[in-house]
Symmetry: D2
Subunit: 336 residues, 4 copies
């Protein structure tokens, strides 16, 4: 059960609601987000929710039978949107396109990528500066200095920076240079990081775990939301299966499922979901038809010489074709 | 290596080619299909294939580096099509739509379904009469009598019958009433059945195994093809993973992969791939955008009372909407 | 519910029991095995089973809440044993050891293997003569002639022949030469084959599917049992997962699970379960400690030159060591 | 290639070695552990390693063809052991047994558990005080105060504390009270945490990821080792598969594999690997036979009322029986 509280609720009114819930053996947690305050109440007894609804300080009340609560569409049926300012949004009514290299490598690479994005009117650039690598001896990213350069060029071009944060202690240092913090697949259930991102007032791109379930993804989003941050986009990026013909299997079922269960926007990462350049395009379009609100893919001026993930990165020409195809497909979807 | 033989080749000419291949320690198998004769030669030595190409009786010759041979696009780059007569085809240039119940249940059910399909100009009806069921005590299908009824109504309406065959001894009895033999997921590597279907001159719809790899699917097709039957469509129907939120995971990666590796047509079964009615529509469309040549889905006049798989079957109205959306999406894909 | 019928029950008495079950909307199936007759009744209503128990012709009656029935320990708590005559058994009180090559290759190979087994007092020899191979161009086994040779040498040495049957039409031809019919992983849900083996009066070694669940394995056994054959051993042979370091993952959980849920004996195949020779030994012993009633493994005089599966086959010396370790471990288990 | 450096090596000698490696285009990283200093050199060229071996300051040199280096047995063939003082070790020559509750719940619970362990001469107690829970509203553990209590009672009894650390910022606060830091399955590829634990001089129990590969586990260990901490034990705790009959599948293959590939000790967690109390015992013994150096399992005075994981926890009596069986099995293994 989710009880939305009035902005001017008094602490003794909250106590009164909690005490009423105690009668039914409901446990309750206060959730203060940057937008609102809520009580999330969990229990088994049948309650006539009007008995809670009439209490002073209650703005609204909903039963939520799902195990996740704040991210459920059983609470909020309209889809949430994330506003980045500058007329940049992630929402159900326009397609968010995010492209860029796996790793930030050099100033020249940033410049060329930003120029390409600007030419094509793409408003998000992805790029890793802290890279989770399976070997400790591999290139681990350009670090905070790389991020500053990345941010400088993007700001000048009106492009939003999407980059991965790997632990809570990095947040403060990264904050001025990041428009959207990405949580990577390996950290999808790093609850301390999720808690910390709940305290941040910038949007989060939350990737599904390497073999995370869709419900685990929603629970991870619930951590961020209940920590205080409502600006979350879910990202399907392929799951680990027995199939060896490709890097992962894009779980396209997840797209209608997540759109059905949650009000949060859903972004598709086709690059990691298949790991083979020539299939990225078709899969991106399929994701849009299936209901995705955005697509994030890996792009590199010269994929052959990329520091990482070159085999799944599109070059600039391929990317430009894909933008057009994505936009056409999104327009077509509206007419279906 | 695939060596296509001239139709009038003499047996001593075949012997001469084999003997030349022996020199390079290549093993070779003659493949006689209903269309052509071939030698499939497998070995490791580097050969100048022109030395084979000039031998008498050789019509054409191709290197095929894939482990599967006759089904590979490295041999035949143009996509194969399957002609059912009556202007019914499975091909890359029009979308094949197949719908019908999981199980044939009654004459009335057949009549209503056929009427619905005819009204909507759908040329294939699916329906099981021999049902593989996990429990031996469950309904095992209407059997051959059900198939005869099924066939009668379809013939009268110009609709092609697609139904599952479970073992080679059933083929002869079923033959007059079937337009396309389906091999179910549990029999996808039943090599004796595949061998037997190689001897049949009717098209085969070959489903991927419950957790079959895409390459295993291609090898199973190679069995049918090398047995003599070139009329094969591959069917992606979801794979078994750790995810419990849906019945299976539609492996949408498989669609561009199979279209890239093989010249055989690819059909998507979204019903089994997700197992939840409300997601079937979106996934079917996604499959078309990703490159599928056809879609097969479960439909029932009253899904609530279906003998099996009701939870994933669309009703007639939902199906009619889906036909239109599928056709629109296929037309849109051509313009992309 | 399982109702065991008296041997001299009259058909009108069966009808009377069925009619009583009808009152509670229970569907019922007669199961005639080579040992007994039963009625398997399935329904939802609460019944006082004594009302059925007192009917004429009823020998015994048990509730079975599992979905599988005849193979459940909820019906039969003592473990079943399979008697091959000649003092050869599969049972919980002695360890059944089965060894032999993946494929029967030559008379000399058979002779040497049989001699080795006899020397070591091993009473079962495994060996495939019909081989399911992913490529249609690969060696498909020595066929029925190979089986006859295999059988001749084994009979003379008092050794039981365990070999795979791939389709029901092979059963009759193979019957005189086989002591235990193996159902391979790819045919684990080939229900027509399972039905046919239910009519056979020789023991069946039923392998789990490539990615079959343990409950699917039990349901497949239920097919054989309800077809009439009670002599079934279940075989865990590894499952397909995302892990690429070995061929499959031995699901050791399955051993206590199957021993807990079913009265059928459980055999472990460590060779396919890992696919790497040097780990076979440890895994075989682990299976015995976990409760397996037998072990079947691949062995070859010269694994390096085996036609198939050489990388996972032990040689004769390694095998002899393993027999001793297996027997010692089984004795140790009794003392635990 | 691993180059062990002399303790008194001069920085110009290190520079000379690196410069020699540069000639062959080998990248090199200095690894300073609490025991030794090494250069890990990675490259493709063939080198006669004696050319490096003779350089001043080099103590020893080994080729390591595995992708992981410091944790490989290709470098160090003898198994590593971890010494906790007080005659408590994890090593190949005695079995380490760790038991305790999923969560630390109360002082009384700690007292009773410690008393039980002491009576049974068990030297490690496990217990979580920071709990990773899928729902943010669930009990998240007793925290640092719980840890202090836990530590007090254990210290008095000569028992070592094993508990999970979830992020690097917790390490300092936890340090005085912890004898072995556990990295949980969800953090198995949290590289920042692994880096931080590399700087700690206390042993680490590193769990395999939810669906981590065995090689990913070794790479995660490589992070800790290359960060400076050689005291690492690997923990197999079951993997995520399609099988729904149990919580996870114990990957018993991993035990001989890890003992073959790495010199680090291997601990089995049968509780999470199956999730069902009655199978824990058999699986623990199987793990010992397969080669595990230790077992960690969940135990609770009254599993029925445990805050978490009660369904897989043994009670005190069951645990006492298991200790004996584990020790007997370990002694038996030595004789095999």
């Amino acid at each position: 059960m989710i009880i939305q509280l009035k902005h001017n609720i008094l602490s003794e009114q909250i106590a009164a609601i909690k005490s009423e819930l105690d009668k039914y053996k409901y446990s309750s947690s206060v959730v203060n987000t940057q937008k609102n305050s809520y009580l999330v109440a969990i229990g088994k007894a049948e309650i006539d929710i009007r008995r809670i609804g009439i209490l002073p300080g209650v703005a609204d009340i909903h039963r939520v039978s799902d195990d996740f609560k704040m991210v459920s569409r059983k609470w909020k049926i309209e889809y949430s949107e994330i506003d980045f300012g500058d007329k940049v949004k992630i929402s159900a009514s326009e397609l968010a396109i995010m492209a860029g290299p796996c790793s930030i490598e050099s100033e020249e690479q940033i410049m060329k990528t930003v120029e390409h994005l600007k030419t094509n009117n793409i408003r998000f650039m992805r790029g890793g500066v802290f890279k989770p690598r399976s070997s400790p001896y591999a290139f681990r990213g350009a670090g905070i200095e790389g991020l500053k350069l990345f941010s400088n060029y993007c700001k000048a071009a009106g492009i939003k920076v999407v980059t991965e944060v790997m632990q809570s202690s990095q947040i403060e240092e990264m904050y001025p240079y990041v428009d959207m913090f990405q949580v990577g697949a390996r950290n999808s259930q790093n609850y301390n990081l999720l808690d910390a991102l709940g305290k941040v007032d910038k949007p989060i791109l939350l990737k599904r775990g390497l073999s995370g379930t869709v419900d685990e993804l929603l629970f991870s989003a619930e951590y961020i939301f209940s920590g205080g941050n409502e600006k979350i986009a879910l990202c399907e990026r392929g799951i680990r299966t027995y199939e060896k013909a490709y890097r992962n299997v894009l779980d396209i079922n997840a797209i209608p499922y997540l759109k059905d269960k949650s009000h949060l926007p859903v972004i598709l990462d086709p690059s990691h979901a298949v790991g083979i350049r020539k299939y990225v395009d078709n899969l991106a379009l399929a994701g849009v038809i299936a209901g995705a609100d955005g697509v994030i893919f890996e792009m590199h001026e010269q994929p052959e010489i990329a520091f990482s993930d070159g085999q799944q990165s599109l070059n600039f020409d391929e990317s430009a074709k894909l933008y057009k195809r994505l936009r056409d497909t999104f327009e077509f979807r509206k007419l279906l």
